[in-house]
Amino acid sequence: MEWESVIGLEIHTQLATKSKIFSGASIAFGAEPNTQACNIDLGMPGVLPVLNQQAVKMAIKFGLAVDAEITPRSIFARKNYFYPDLPKGYQISQFELPVVGKGIIEIEMTDGEKKLINITRAHLEEDAGKSLHEDFDGMTGIDLNRAGTPLLEIVSEPDMRSAKEAVAYMKKIHQIVKYIGISDGNMQEGSFRCDANVSVRPKGQEALGTRAELKNLNSFKFIEKAINLEIERQIDIIESGGKIVQETRLYDADKHETRSMRSKEEANDYRYFPDPDLLPLVIETEDIEDIKQQMPELPNAKKLRFMEQFSLKEYDAYLLTSSIELADYYEKVKTQVNDAKLIANWLIGELSGALNKNNLDVKQSPISADQLSELLKRIEDKTISGKIAKKVFESIWNGEGNADEIIEKQGLKQITDTGALEKMVDEIIANNSKQVEQYKNGQTKLLGYFVGQAMKASKGKGNPQELNKIIKAKLDSL
């Protein structure tokens, strides 16, 4: 039988506010345990939450970016459960009325196929703290620095049909939250995490199969692997006559397996009810209009502008705008270097290749936009050839200095002195009488051979076009 998988994602994105969602404590990552937890984060008696308006603005921004309805009056609710890293014994979240309602985004697969994915809702909530099981013998340590960190939970409809689509969707959301500046999207630090609801059904069947919820998917690589693994597991069970149980499963990246955490029967009753400490969150139309004015250019608009303004092909523009950092990098170089296509080739080719190889993102690039501009300018003004430029690029990457310094120090300037080139060509003609004769006999494609010899003799510094001209003239006049 042919099976179809159905996937929906819940993405938790940490908002890049200065302080926590209900207190004034900092949310900076990596501080000593419990140094960034104030009395409110600690759930002390009598303290009260006060909503961080910056977090609300960020949620609205997201809503606008995915064409969603902004709820005029949303409600904060308490999700009640006991856990040591949940200081109040409840998490403040939104349940029945989330701040962002139904929205929609277009995802693009690597083969260029496009698809619309519906967003069910996005709501504001606070993060819990962390339990540290390793460092204390027979005890558990609690670090409440993360408690109260603002999160936007983005819930999709079960609109994805493969792990690849799920990854494309997650990447799209990642791209958007970074574009609109509401999250640093840092997956290693847990600023962008995802749970996936996965089920399978016979192809053509309308009714959804029983789903399992996969937790702990913290990288694009893991999510694809984990979902595929889960799809296989479910198909195996059904095909061998079994039944899928609704449950929560944890993905273990080290063992590459998922295992059951709890079944539906064991699921908590969270006893949700509106938080009486917080008033309904009222958002006026004017607030939304204000934020609309401040909205940055979104990925698709930027792609179209790149195509138009820089006469770039769609695929190049798509790649260049895939992350806000790369797009910004491109535009910065473009202010200094004229040839739009040349810049695009270098960013998509050399730079992205080197970054990927070293597992770095654009922000961490050892070569700044200014440094790359200097290098590309030297190609434009013919100081060096493209081939030499690649060597220079490597040297800049390795921290040996800027383009001009390296060209100077390593003597990489193109030889533009026609006299010197002519002398070199004369020598090559003299030393290759056999090839000269063949050329004269009509094998004109040997011209390339002579240019190659000349480039070798100049150690790559000869201008190939110039050499071509000189050699052809000399051979033809023999």
Binding site: N39, G46, R271
Partner: protein
Amino acid sequence: MHKKSLTELSEGLKQGQYSSVELTQYFIDRINTYQPTLNALITVTEESALQEAKQADELIKSGDAGDLTGIPIIHKDIFCTKGIKTTCASKMLDNFIAPYSSTVTQNLESAGMVMLGKANMDEFAMGSSNETSYYGAVKNPWQLDKVPGGSSGGSAAAVAAKLAPVSTGTDTGGSIRQPAALCGVTGLKPTYGRISRFGMIAFASSLDQAGTFTSSAEDAAKLLQVMAGFDERDSTSIDKPVPDYSATLNDSVAGLKIGLPKQYFDPGLDPLMAEKIEQALDAYKKMGASIIDIDLPHTDQSIPVYYVVAPAECSSNLSRFDGVRYGYRCQQPKDLDDLYKRSRSEGFGEEVKRRIMIGAYTLSAGYYDAYYIKAQKLRRLISEDFKQAFSKVDVIMGPVTPTTAFNIGEKLDDPVSMYLSDIYTIAVNLAGLPGLSIPAGFIDDMPMGLQLIGNYFEEGKLLNIAHQYQQVTDFHRQTPNL
């Protein structure tokens, strides 16, 4: 000296008849004398009180003193006080010292008041008799085998017995007005949101409101003046200007329209109580007020609604007491579940556990709509009743309690009968309105109270109406013989 009101004592301090240190010492001596009998306090802060009094005296000498500078006060032990134990009368918080102060106590301290100690109360403010305290029952100063009411029983008893001229309390379903009535003092519960709840340990967040115990409406006006106002640390406090409550005390009540809800004169009301209310109304009539019968049709729903809403909120509010970060932790927990179960079973008293269980039940899946949502709907209808009434009248009057103080132990094993003693006060909390209880007579030598209910933010009017009554009566000046 102890029979003097805050207003009179403030005058005496300013005129140099006595210093704040002397005044403070005087009340500390009274506490030391009567505390063993009354058990009105959990903590006495003698040393810091004298220190604060000294500072107040300097302020008075420099001429910068306000109405409250140097006046002693007792705070209900539900308000967090930085560096001083705050227990909420629970074993759970027997060792808890807050590293911050509530907005209420902070504002009163900034006004120069001298804190004598922390008052006993029902555990986590759950109770109507002050018998659920981990630190033992409080006695009614008028008759020691009677309850003082609750949950702010210690605060009420302390002012009745003049262990302090004034005290603070909180009112979730009548916890200020009921003990004020049973102890013969003036108790004010302002509009929900008028006073910040920051640092006040939550029982039921949508109902809790801080207020005052004083010997007169005039004194209450002075305290409220300092306690009221918006607090950015409490999202439910309301950003509305605070009027001068003392300025309107002497306004005439001629032409005042007093609403009398027929539902408050039900068969459950002691006929002698009804008689006293009639006499109070006569006094108002003499001053030119008129009485209008009004209908509050959902009054009988208020207790069931309250006992869904309040326990629901409390079950969640009290989840933070889990033995993990502060407060009581059981000995040698086997595992996490054991830590939770035993810390909470051992740390909370019976009434608190009862309400947590009721609350968790009404919020649970499958019951939520039938209980919590239904209760919220009825709560709106109860508010609507009052809205209708206030379109016809300026103030609503009635009894505070069905009877005067009952005996200690009488209702402890009968929670429903205990809950019913709040029948006349609870609707005011559900609607978020201001309410005031003033002494209006004695039945068998025990005080009773007249309840005044005002429209939203009309504390000034309530205090004015009460003050006019206290100008023509002297029930509020009576003190028990200890």
